[in-house]
């Protein structure tokens, strides 16, 4: 379950990345389309300008041609009629021709080929004009000769050559125009193709993005539903588990209770009849004493031994063992009873709790010359009696297992604490005899103790303390080195864990 949810998370990330990539691609395509549109637009503008230019050249060519034709017409009129009015028109048309040729030259300044042609036009015009001026004053025979060979006249030839050049130039300009139109069309076509491709790409990106987003949304919804279902299920599961635990706990409590009680019953007899035996033995012993004093027959040594040594020894062992058994049973009973006590959470200043504990142990502390210091401690919400029991057990242990005989090392017990992430802890640190590593867990077991058995006790305190700590939603840990001292850490929730109910 966990891993599939994690991988779906990974898929989400991948899908998101893909969506971003696609969106970026779409925007890039848009930018490209806009850029090429701008380029095409500019190209179109340039082309249009060129077309206008070509048209202007053509118009200029036409204008020049018409001015030249007008010159020729005027010359012919003049030759034929000798009317001086034609000379005026001729001069006017010549000026016009030069003027228009200058204009043409300016227009074709960008085209060397056309410029060369324009230069040729100028040359033709110059020869023509010179010829005209030479033939202007011809009279009589000369004129007749001119008229007779007019077809081969220099001026006519020049006009023809000029016409040819004008046509050449017009054709060149037309070819240019066609070229430019073609190029414009090609560019337009390319632009159209590019635009269509971009449109297709954007469409593709949009569809892919939409599909991805839709899939993501569907997955999101599915996982949300799943999450809600799991969450609901989790509560049920937790409730069921808690119920089971409570039942199990109750059963254990009940078991311990019944066992300890039923164990007790035979003990009453063992103790009782041991006492009766003792009483009987005393009676026999007294009788034997009395018999010896009265001079009756002395009982044999074996009888005397049995009555005076064997019987009291056996009875003594039975009694000590029974007493020990009684203490153990009582310990189990106490544990079981502690487990059943109703817990009453309240606000506890652990520093105050520890001051009280240290106060109650003051006599022993003074007697052993121990230095006990309580540092800054957190405030928790918990059951006062239970917390007091745990802490006082830890402090008592620290005090109990100091090494009073060890020279140059006075007993030091320090209590410090802290809190974070909802947990509070109290460390009880001593420099006592310490606990071997292999016994670190064992000291928390019921009836188990560690090290030299030179102190009274049944091995109940820490087992009890840890059981209590568990019940309060906390725990107890130990860090210790043999001969160096021990640190017992009680960890408790800062706030009361309301899940605890008494069974």
């Amino acid at each position: 379950m966990e891993s599939s949810r994690l991988s779906s998370l990974g898929r989400d990330t991948r899908a998101t990345r893909l969506i971003f990539a696609l969106l970026a691609l779409g925007f890039a395509a848009l930018l490209m389309a806009a850029g090429s549109a701008f380029y095409i637009q500019r190209q179109n503008g340039i082309d249009a300008q060129r077309v206008v230019h070509t048209l202007a050249v053509e118009a200029s060519l036409g204008a020049y041609a018409s001015a030249m034709e007008r010159m020729e017409t005027a010359r012919r009129g003049l030759i034929m009629t000798q009317n001086p009015r034609f000379a005026t028109i001729m001069a006017d048309a010549e000026a016009q021709s030069y003027d228009r040729l200058k204009n043409l030259v300016r227009l074709v300044a960008d085209n060397p080929v056309q410029q060369a042609r324009a230069a040729r036009l100028r040359a033709h015009l110059k020869i023509y004009a010179d010829h005209y001026r030479k033939t202007l004053g011809l009279r009589g025979d000369d004129r007749a000769a001119l008229l007779a060979g007019f077809a081969a006249d220099r001026g006519v030839l020049e006009v023809r050559a000029s016409r040819a050049v004008v046509e050449e130039m017009t054709n060149a300009e037309l070819a240019l125009l066609r070229d430019r139109e073609q190029r414009q069309q090609r560019t337009q076509g390319q632009f159209n193709i590019l635009l269509s491709l971009t449109a297709l790409l954007i469409m593709g990106v949009a569809i892919a993005t939409l599909l991805l987003v839709r899939r993501n949304l569907v997955e999101l919804r599915t996982s949300r539903i799943e999450l809600r279902r799991l969450n609901d299920g989790l509560e049920d599961v937790v409730e069921a588990r808690t119920g089971e635990l409570k039942r199990a706990n109750a059963e254990i409590q009940r078991f311990a209770y019944i066992v300890s009680h039923d164990l007790r019953s035979p003990l009453v007899n063992v103790m009782g009849f041991t006492a009766e035996l003792e009483t009987a033995r005393k009676a026999i012993a007294a009788y034997l004493e009395k018999g010896a004093a009265d001079g009756w027959s002395e009982p044999d040594a074996a009888t005397r031994l049995a009555v005076e040594e064997d019987l009291p020894e056996s009875i003594g062992f039975i009694r000590t063992s029974t007493q020990k058994m009684d203490r153990l049973i009582n310990a189990i009973l106490n544990l079981s009873r502690q487990g059943r006590r109703t817990l009453a959470p309240e606000r506890l200043d652990l520093a105050a709790v520890l001051e009280a504990i240290v106060g109650s142990l003051q006599h022993r502390i003074d007697e052993s010359g121990t230095d006990v210091s309580v540092g800054k401690l957190p405030v928790v919400v918990n059951d006062r009696v239970a917390v007091e029991q745990i802490l006082s057990n830890l402090v008592e242990n620290a005090l109990k297992y100091l090494q009073p005989g060890r020279p140059g090392r006075p007993g030091v017990i320090r209590v410090t604490g802290g809190a974070d992430f909802g947990r509070a802890w109290v460390d009880v640190i001593d420099n006592g005899r310490g606990i071997a590593t292999r016994d670190h867990e064992r000291v928390f077991d019921l009836f188990r103790r560690s090290g030299v058995q030179d102190q009274p006790g049944e091995g109940i305190g820490l087992a009890h303390a840890r059981a209590l700590a568990y019940r309060l939603g906390g725990t107890i840990e130990v860090q210790s080195e043999l001969g160096e001292g021990s640190t017992f850490r009680l960890i408790l929730p800062i706030e009361w864990q309301s899940g605890e109910e008494d069974v």
Partner: protein, 148 residues
């Protein structure tokens, strides 16, 4: 006269050893009343209600009751004795048992038990408790049972 009738002690105790120790110590306290001992609840109830020399037919009684019995719970017997309309509801009942659970003790008193004594495992204390009970029995006034 009913005043002169001796008080019968009815002891309901499944552990013979306990019964013997209790009897011994009661005797040591100087109580010589008859002690009727029963090992289970059924025969005890039969004696209490039906026997010719039982308390209903024949004079006052005092019941020593253990709570852990093989056939029924001592509290059931207690409830029956102290029930409304029972001829023995004024008969003193001393619960003498190993159970020292607070809830159990409260329940016994709620049901009408007159004295609750926990059997101490320590024999000196045990003997002491029984002897004191004996002294208590020597001064106690026990009513006749109500006519059935």
């Amino acid at each position: 006269m009913s005043d002169q009738k001796p008080v019968n002690i009815v002891m309901i105790e499944d552990d013979e050893g306990h019964a013997r120790l209790i009897e011994k110590n009661i005797r040591r306290a100087g109580i010589s009343n008859a002690i009727h001992h029963f090992l289970d609840g059924t025969s005890a109830l039969e004696f209490l209600y039906d026997a010719a020399e039982g308390p209903v037919r024949n004079g006052p009684a005092l019941v020593l009751l253990d709570l852990n019995l093989p056939d029924m719970s001592g509290t059931d017997i207690l409830a029956k004795l102290k029930a409304d309309g029972s001829p023995l509801r004024r008969t003193p009942v001393v619960v003498l048992t190993t159970t020292d659970d607070k809830i159990e003790i409260q329940r016994c008193y709620d049901l009408g038990c007159n004295v609750y004594i926990t059997k101490p495992v320590n024999y000196e204390n045990f003997a002491d408790a029984i002897r004191q009970l004996g002294l208590f029995l020597s001064v106690i006034q026990v009513p006749d049972p109500d006519p059935a």
